[in-house]
Amino acid sequence: MDLIQIRGGNLVGHESDSQRTQYPYVTGTSVIGIKYKDGILIAADMGGSYGSTIRYKSVERIKPIGKHSLLGASGEISDFQEILRNLDELILYDNMWDDGNTLGPKEVHNYLTRMMYNRRNKFNPLWNSLVLGGVKNGQKYLGTVSMIGVHYEDNHVATGFGNHLAKPILRDEWHEDLSFEDGVRLLEKCMRVLLYRDRSAVNKLQIAKLTEEGVTVSPPYALKTHWEFNSFKNPTAGAEGSW
């Protein structure tokens, strides 16, 4: 006599009941974050690509979490919105305790890591790479979580294409105690290279600043680009017929 009913070879309900995220649909491209003298700076553009079309051009991919943290995300936008809902609930419950303690960036980072890793173990990942930055009690914190749950903290992090194009620049030029202007200049340098070389980048970005005082997300703006190379004007001057 079978004590346990096995349907479709699966103990936990039929396989067709559950949906699994196989591939992302609307995606955001790279996010870059750095620590600077007074706190954290995170930059991301405002593009939401639908495959190879740039479908949405005003997607805010950096959001404040509670009083002490900033979250930037690349990857599937709907999964990012789901993460924000979960974090909202987390912060709300924390506020309801009203015990004088608030969730800091380290705690939020840990929560995100657990969330991402557990989803990955069920073969239904949240298709995002997250950048979590924050300042609490003077301590700066900058960490990242990937969609499979790989997490670490560092002085500068980047997701997606930023890993290949921005990381080399950050490794070379980041140093301790950057001023706000220097930090913004460094981020803009990286975002400009990404704009030139990442096909899903758009020229509309936001830079968010987080210090002990609070969060400021800049209004969207565009970067200046330089196309006036002599060689671009007449590229095949010496090589007639080629391109």
């Binding site: 290949h164 194009l165 921005a166 990381k167 080399p168 620049i169 490794r171 070379d172 340098k189 990286c190 400009r192 290279v193 030139y196 070389r197 190379f229 002599n230 060689s231 671009f232 590229p235 095949t236 001057a237 010496g238 090589a239 007639e240 080629s242 391109w243």
Partner: protein, 274 residues
């Protein structure tokens, strides 16, 4: 009475793709190709005020193993033209050697200095005819009578003419440096420094690139091949002062006593002469 079977038309020439079909079939069956030596590289080139500067790292890989720590990726094409190669090492070597000898014959025939476009056309038509199976991605640079030129050539045979270019697995790391720091009219020192910086960016941020930086500066009438211009990965030892051995054993006696009598070797030459 005509035969019903199809007439075998002999191939007139060009590349025969039969082996490619065989390889695809084998892959489907699960037979793995043996790993070939790839250069897994960072190669760059840029145009400065007096000519062209080419740069390359020196690591050659066979899958996950570094098989050559200090190989040469900047190949000679002509006295005034050099070519960096990324991709399968055998392919880059063979194709640059072949075009180099074709250029030499052409120089004898015309009595003139080779032009970069000649090398470009010879390379691209060869690669195109092999439909990308010759896995060579090249950065070709040189100075001829028409001025300095820099081209990139892709394995399928397409080319680009650019003021600055990077190829190979480390191309993104190197391009990040070029896109943020390149400007027109660089001097020789600035150009060499920028090329070295881009290659170092590839060496330290890309796993397929490593070891040293080679630089080649080509100007009108002069070439400076700076082999191992920078060595940012020197062999280091645990302590700076080297190994110190404990106090050596005291020498008691220096007399040598033979354990066995020396054996005299008899001349065997006479026996052999029969």
């Amino acid at each position: 009475m005509t035969k019903a079977a199809a007439i075998e038309v002999p191939t007139k020439g060009g590349f025969s793709f039969d082996l490619c079909k065989r390889n695809d079939m084998l892959l489907k069956k699960g037979v793995q190709m043996p790993p070939f030596r790839k250069t897994g590289t960072t190669i760059v080139g840029l145009i400065f005020q007096d000519g062209v500067i080419l740069g390359a790292d020196t690591r050659a890989t066979e899958g996950p193993i570094v098989c050559d720590k200090n190989c040469e990726k900047i190949h000679y094409m002509a006295p005034n033209i050099y070519c960096c190669g990324a991709g399968t090492a055998a392919d880059t070597e063979a194709v640059t050697d072949m075009v180099s000898s074709q250029l030499k014959l052409h120089r004898y025939h015309t009595g003139r200095e080779s032009r970069v476009v000649t090398a470009l056309t010879l390379l691209k038509s060869h690669l195109f005819s092999y439909q990308g199976y010759v896995s060579a991605a090249l950065v070709l640079g040189g100075v001829d009578v028409t001025g300095p030129h820099l081209h990139t050539i892709y394995p399928h045979g397409s080319t680009d003419t650019l003021p600055f270019a990077t190829m190979g697995s480390g191309s993104l790391a190197a391009m990040a440096v070029f896109e943020s720091k390149y400007r027109e009219g660089l001097t020789r020192e600035e150009g060499i420094d920028l090329v070295a910086e881009a290659i170092c960016s590839g060496i330290f941020n890309d796993l397929g690139s490593g070891s040293n930086v080679d630089v080649c500066v080509i100007t009108k009438g002069n070439v400076d091949y700076l082999r191992n211009h920078k060595l940012p990965n020197p062999r280091t030892y645990v302590t700076a002062k080297g190994y110190s051995f404990p106090k050596p054993i005291e020498v008691l006696l220096t007399k040598v006593t033979m354990l066995r009598e020396k054996v005299e070797v008899i001349e065997a030459g006479d026996a052999m002469e029969e």
